[in-house]
């Protein structure tokens, strides 16, 4: 039987490949989720009641159902209904984006609401439109306050992508499963997979600390 070290060394190329897939899905999904979250967050504080309703329906729907069910629904359910084929990775990115988008929407809503009313009033009293007030005065201040919450969501999303192994995407977790199914060395491989997640998340949380200090709330 190979030594534990040999097992780990042999597994590294596949696990690194899986890590890249995980990172790719996280980056693409979070960019989409950020846009969805910003739009939904702004809708949730709009004067128009219909916009607020749409946003809160979306957020409640996503928060009220497990991510795994959302993944299965998009990958297995929707294709049947729409009579199309969705590649696994696309389905995964859609599911993660929609899921993170709902939480980011709440982060935006809370961040914007945390800005003192007087800031908006001062900007409007100068003659700035609602749009410019949001863009130049409210959002720059709100995003700084939101930074820790964004980082938290980033970490959650990285870990959530492991659920995509359930639809056969060879991200980090699925790579581990594939290796174990051929060498049966569960202890070593799951240990290393866990350490890989730990390293990615540790690096990101360090970087975000630096960012937080650089963009300190004034």
């Amino acid at each position: 039987m190979d030594s534990s070290w040999q097992v780990i060394i042999d597994a590294l190329p596949l696990l690194l490949q899986g890590t890249l897939v995980t990172l790719k899905i996280v980056v693409i999904s979070l960019i989409i989720a950020f846009v969805i979250g910003l739009i939904s967050g702004l809708m949730s504080i709009a004067q128009n009641r219909l916009l607020r309703l749409i946003s809160s329906f979306y957020v409640d729907l996503i928060r009220g159902t497990p991510l795994l069910v959302q993944v299965f629904f998009i990958y297995f359910g929707l294709p049947v209904f729409l009579d199309i084929r969705i590649p696994a990775e696309t389905a995964g990115i859609i599911a993660i984006s929609l899921n993170a988008g709902a939480y980011i929407s709440e982060i935006f809503r809370a961040g914007i609401n945390s800005i003192n009313r007087g800031q908006g009033e001062a900007a409007r009293s100068l003659g700035l439109s609602r749009y410019l007030t949001m863009r130049l005065v409210i959002l720059p201040q709100a995003t700084r306050r939101m930074l820790p919450a964004f980082v938290n969501q980033l970490i959650v999303t990285i870990k959530d992508t492991s659920l995509l192994s359930a639809i056969g995407i060879t991200e980090l977790t699925q790579s581990g499963e594939i290796i174990i199914s051929s060498n049966f060395r569960a202890f070593e491989i799951w240990g290393v997979v866990g350490i890989f997640y730990l390293i990615i998340i540790y690096i990101l949380s360090r970087v975000s600390r630096l960012l937080e200090r650089r963009y300190a709330v004034r």
């Binding site: 009033e121 001062a122 100068l126 003659g127 700035l128 410019l132 720059p140 201040q141 004034r218």
Partner: protein, 240 residues
């Protein structure tokens, strides 16, 4: 200049302004005094529609403020406002606070904008603070920057909402001095204040409000020495 006709404002079932009518002439300095809860801040905030009015009509210059067709952003460039809590933008430097509105509304060139803004800073005596952030300034300095910012769009009217109420006593004087200078320049000013000394010295007219009504208005000497109304006398008796 400013005409207010039968202005009423309710928050839910709470009627804060009950039928206010008055006229403020060009270049007039009007101080609004009265006990807290009398509606004086709400009255001021209705003039530039920071509060929607429930009914009545406000006209500033040729613009009917309360008409739904009015471009309210356009009107507000002509009506500067100074708040009790200063409300400077904390993420921008002093100079950027002042340059913000001219940059995005007037599309003023950076050089012109900076020159104009530095003149305004000089007027309030804070040129050396151009690159400071608001949290590095004292309350009095912040309020002087806020006045400069409100002047950046060249408004014809300035509204002051208790501009010295949040200040430590030793800083009240510097802010009142800037306001006095403005008054002498002949800008139309409406000042909600508890500073009776300022009202007496600088105002052309004093309005006394209580319970959502204008109870009495007149020259400072009329209000302070010769108030006719019992409620005015009772209020002044307490604050003077």
């Amino acid at each position: 200049m400013i005409i207010v006709e039968n202005l009423k404002k309710s928050f839910g079932s709470n009627e804060v302004l009950k039928d206010i009518s008055t006229t403020i002439k060009e270049k007039e300095v009007v101080c609004v005094i009265g006990p807290s809860g009398s509606g004086k801040s709400t009255f001021l905030r209705c003039l530039n529609l920071l509060e929607d009015v429930t009914s009545g009509k406000v006209t500033i210059g040729d613009t009917e403020v309360t008409s739904p067709q009015t471009d309210i952003d356009q009107l507000r460039t002509n009506v500067g406002m100074v708040f009790q809590q200063f409300n400077l933008f904390p993420h921008l430097t002093v100079l950027d606070n002042i340059m913000l509105a001219p940059k995005y509304i007037k599309k003023m060139s950076k050089a012109d904008n900076e020159k104009k803004s530095m003149e305004l800073l000089a007027k309030v005596g804070l040129e050396q603070k151009r690159d400071a952030y608001p949290d590095q300034l004292s309350g009095g300095q912040q309020q002087r920057v806020a006045i400069a910012r409100a002047l950046a769009m060249n408004p014809n009217v300035m509204l002051f909402d208790e501009p010295t109420s949040a200040l430590d006593p030793e800083m009240v004087g510097e802010v009142l001095q800037v306001m006095k200078d403005l008054a002498h320049e002949g800008i139309t000013m409406v000042v909600v204040t508890h500073e009776m000394g300022f009202a007496r010295e600088v105002a052309d007219r004093v309005i006394f409000m209580d319970g959502g009504y204008i109870v009495e208005e007149g020259t400072p000497s009329h209000i302070f020495q010769n108030a006719q109304h019992e409620r005015t006398q009772a209020f002044l008796g307490k604050v003077l």
